[in-house]
Every structure is written in C-alpha cells, then in structure tokens.
Symmetry: C2
Subunit: 346 residues, 2 copies
C-alpha cells in the first residue's frame, strides 16, 4: 500500500513510529486526529505530510455541517489553521493546505456535497501527482550516481517519506533499478532513528546493499574516501538554495565539502519556499527532550534520571555546501536563486 492512502471513506497511514518491529495501518476520519498524527510523527517526511494534510482538509470538508458554500469555506479555513500548526518546519504542509483552499475557493459549484467530493478528488490528485513527481526526480537524480558508488544517506526519504517511491532514497532506488551496482551508508539519524528503523527496512526490502553506521561515523567514512556522494531530502528550501532538513544534515554537508564529495538535496518544488530569501527565516521545531532521553541499551534506560536535553528537529544547510538540488523539473545547480525560480515555475 501507499504510505498515505485514501480508501473506504478514511485516510489510512502506515504507523511509522513502530516500524520495523510492527507494521500497522491506522484509519483516520477526523482531521483533528490527522493533525495529531502529523505532530506525533505517525506520518513524517515533508511530501507525505503535505498530502496527509490535503486529505485532512478533505476530511474537514466532510466533517463540516455547513449547508452552504460560504459556511463550508469558513470551516475549511478553520481546519487549515489547525492543520498548519501541526509541524512548523516543512513548508509542504502549508503548501498543500494552501492549494486545497485555493482550489475550494475557485470552485464554481454551489452544492456543498459536490464541493466536498471535489476537495477529496483534489487531495487524491495531489497524492497521485506526488508519486509521479517522485519518479521524475529519481530519474533526474539517478544520473548523479555512478556504477560502483557508495553513497551516504541521512534520515528516511524513501517510500515512507512520501506517498510512494521516495525523494533522495528514490534516486538511490532508481540507480539500483537501472542496474548500477551501488552501496549505501545509512546513518542512524538520532534521535528518532529514521535511518536505523525506516531506511534500513526499506533498503532491506528492496535488496539494495547497505551498512548501517552511527551518526558519529559519517565523517570517518567520508575522510577515508569510501563515500562518493551524499543524498538527503529537504523540508524547506529558501529562494537562495538554503536547505532546512532533518537535524544532522548541516554537518554532513560541511563534511562533504571538506572532503570534496558532492552533496545533493532531493525535493519536489513544493518544498521550495520562494517567499523566504534565506534559511535564517525558517522556523526550527524543537521537539520534546524525551526523544533524546528515553533511549534504551541492553534492556535498560541509558540516561540518568532528572537530566535535560536539547532536541532541535531540523537544521539549515547554507547553499554554499549544496552541490545541486534535484527537483521533478530537473537538477538545479548554483546560482540557485535563478534555477529554483525556473524549476518552480516550469
């Protein structure tokens, strides 16, 4: 199934908090629950969050008791405000709710049930587009991976981070499907371990050779010449090409540059926020400290009781460390300002 899928009058999400030990799907029929699912990271990954929020809007339309168009739009506006607050950093969430809202406002329909159906159809269209966009990105990006390469990958950017296929991991998957012999260094991505849990699970299922490494070992493998390129996703890319992405991305980018290794961010143009001039304007979510503190090892809690942690969920990689940004409309090289504008508009 898709990571984000509409069926039987409900939104179905794969519960990513418990993978790979258990595979469970949760059905949602209330957009408030969808908001919470995004906040609690049942679903994560910028593109997956975007499409989930679009279906959240479709649910809000169905939940609304409105009997006329204007009342329904007011209820949708209210739902959008709630959904937009679910997580602050990924721009795809707001991009998706903006698109649904604009679409709903633009409808010439008067019957509220027709509007409800159309909003759902638009969300479904966004889900289908997401898959198609991922394939296009993967084809553009796969040309950057050469036969025999070992590549380093951060967090999870596979099918679980989107509706299906993947962004950065989609590029790696496409290179593999093209018959290139590749190997992936999968970093764990503390604190939530999306690499150790989700990327390892996806690569294993895809039969793509990989080794898991601690986040502390990434620099060593770059320094020792084993890593030929680094691939990451993005949660928001500003007009100048600064990339907000999962915490740990910035340091990988610095290390890649220091070692002469190309560093690629793979993201759909819905991730590009041309309204922000640079990364200093991106809000960085700080998540509960328990995500850092509740680690277990050998069956016992690792950390002493009563201590504190800092837990920023994202960081910003300045554009000078980014070799290229892979979008569904092509690979954008510096200067990013012009290239990103063209990619978004094409």
């Amino acid at each position: 199934m898709r990571t984000v899928e509409w069926k039987n009058h409900a939104l179905h999400l794969i519960d990513q908090r418990i993978l790979p030990s258990r595979f469970e799907v949760i059905a949602y029929r209330d957009y408030h629950d969808v908001t919470k699912a995004i906040t609690d990271m049942v679903v994560r990954g910028a593109p997956a969050i975007g499409v989930t929020a679009a279906f959240g809007m479709a649910l809000a339309a169905q939940q609304s008791p409105a009997k006329d168009r204007d009342s329904l739009l007011i209820d949708l506006d209210h739902a959008k405000e709630i959904l937009d607050e679910a997580r602050p950093t990924a721009v795809n969430l707001k991009w998706a709710t903006d698109r649904v809202m604009k679409y709903a406002r633009g409808l010439v329909l008067k019957n509220v049930d027709d509007i409800r159906s159309s909003v759902l159809a638009e969300a479904q269209k966004m889900a289908d587009e997401d898959v198609e966009i991922n394939i296009r990105m993967a084809k553009h990006g796969a040309a950057l991976i050469h036969d025999g390469d070992s590549v380093l990958h951060h967090c999870n950017t596979g099918a679980l981070a989107v509706v299906d296929y993947g962004t950065a991991l989609g590029v790696i998957r496409m290179a593999h499907e093209q018959g290139k012999k590749i190997h992936v260094f999968v970093d764990e991505t503390r604190p939530r371990l999306q690499g150790a849990r989700l990327t390892a699970w996806e690569l294993k299922n895809l039969n793509i050779p990989f080794d898991l490494i601690a986040d502390t070992a990434a620099g060593h493998f770059m320094q020792s010449g084993k890593v030929k390129s680094v691939f990451v996703g993005a949660d928001r890319i500003t007009a100048n090409g600064d990339v907000a992405n999962k915490i740990g991305t910035y340091q990988l980018a610095v290390l890649a540059k220091e070692n002469g290794i190309p560093f690629y961010s793979v993201a759909p143009t819905s991730t590009v926020d041309l309204s922000l001039p640079d990364g200093s304007h991106i809000p960085i979510e700080e998540r509960p400290m328990d995500e850092v503190l509740n680690l277990q090892f050998n069956g016992e809690r690792v950390t002493p009781e009563g201590i504190t942690a800092r837990n920023p969920a994202f960081d910003v990689t300045p554009n000078k460390y980014v070799t290229a940004i892979v979008t569904e409309n092509g690979v954008v090289y510096p200067p990013f300002e012009e290239g990103l504008r063209k990619a978004v508009q094409s």
Copy 2:
C-alpha cells in the same frame, strides 16, 4: 572509589557497561580476565586502560609460578603480549606495559617475591601519578574556558576514563570548581553512548549544568553560535599532532574549524606516540556490529533483523583542525611537532 583501584589483593574496576542504571565493582585476580575486561569495555578511556594494564602486569607477576628472576621476566613478557592485544588504538596500554616491563628488567632484586611486590608498587605509583597528572592538565586547560562559556564535550573523559578526575572533562570540572559559570553540551556518542551514559552521570553528580544532545545536533549548535569551545580526549597523538580519538571526533573538529570555534584535545603525554609520524599509521579498531544494531527504543529493537553495520571505534583528526593539545606539562600549540616533543621530554 577510584575507577581503577587496587585493594584486598585484587584489581577493582567500576563496571562501566551498566552505568548509570547500576553501579557495580568487579574484582580481578587473573590478568587474562583483565585483558577481557579491557576488550569488553568494563573499563575504557585511554589513561584508565593504561593503568589497568599496569595492574594486569602486577597480577601476571603474582600468578607466575616462576622461582627465579629470568623465568618471571619471561612470564611477564608473555603477559604483556596478551594485554597489548586487548585493544589496538589507545597507545597508553602499550605505554603502561612497556613501562612496567622496563621497570621490572631494571630491578636489581633477585628474590622473585620482592620483584612481584615492586611491580605492584610501580603499578600503584602509575595510578597515583595519573591522578596528579589529571589535576595538572585540568589547571592548564581551565584557563581556556571563560566565565559564561558553553562548551561541547564528546564521549566520556571524566573520572571514569582515568584513575580519577578526568582529562577533557577534568578541564571542564576544574573551570567549574574555579567558580566559572559554565554549561556543557554533552553529545551522546553513539554507538556505545559514553556521553549519554557516563558523562551525563558524572556531570549530574558534580552539579555542572549540561544538556544532552544527539550527535546529529552538534553542528547545529556550533553553527548557531552557542558553542564557545570543543573539548575531547585522545587515544593516541602522533608526532605531528594528529589525534586518534572516539569515533565522531573528526567531524566535530571539522565543524569547529568551519565555525571558528577552538578545538582542544586533552591528554597526558603517555598518549603521545612520537614513534608515529602521523595519524595514517594508527590502527583503527572496528568493533562488533552488534554495538550499532542492538539499539532499543520504546522497548523494541530498532533495526530490522539480518542487516549489517560498520562500526569503527575511533577516527583520526588531522592536526590542522586541532587548536591546541593540553598536556600535564602545558598547553601545546602548533607547530605540534616541536611542542609535543618538549612536552613529552619535560
């Protein structure tokens, strides 16, 4: 008690594998068991390993059935070979067994029991010297920390990594004891989590303010200007000032340099290996992959079954990223070649 302590005719080691959830001390009376304790990381930290190996030699002398000086020296030589293989990267181990061996050979005693007693006394002297050396290092290094500073610390270099007090963490502790208001960013240090387990435990007990962070967040806090200096220990420092230390050190050093933050390695001169011209000659231990794979989260194993990992335990930081090396004989600045030679000889 000390981390490494001789009492009641046995070597006592704090079992660092189960801290902080349990505090247990293991008594050793056989040098083969001491060797295994070093390999299994009951005891870790280059200076602690060195003194432990010295006591291992003392145990070997007591275990030896030799009735004459020459036979005892042969048995000691054999024990040294076994102890030296316990872990390959930290040079303090071989430094300590070399010193005991040289000391034993130099003795003019003929009675083997007198030799046994003298070897034990020498090991005890090394333990006492280690504490005194740590205090001297801490005083030299504390001058590098200013009132109000937040400093970043990697792995564990506190009392648990030495006989008592600490190397890099000793410097931080001394600055605190001098009344400076300081704060420490403690990184977890995957895979064995010495930061999350041991450093957090020591700092909590010392009432030094700190926050635990994921290894992925170190770069972000440097980039955002919060980190004023970085302090790490060392497992081997070559003649040119290259520093082998816990995996993850290299990337912290690169990030510090990129952000204009001073990067300090704190280590006794017993860590300096003048026989090696540079870090490319240092053997890097790769430990069992299960250290990466057996992580738990929310009560469940994190990683899928049947996957592989790479687990280098150390990396090498080229001297160009090192601001200074703090030894018991003073702070050594570049060019390190000359300064380290003087520090070792003084």
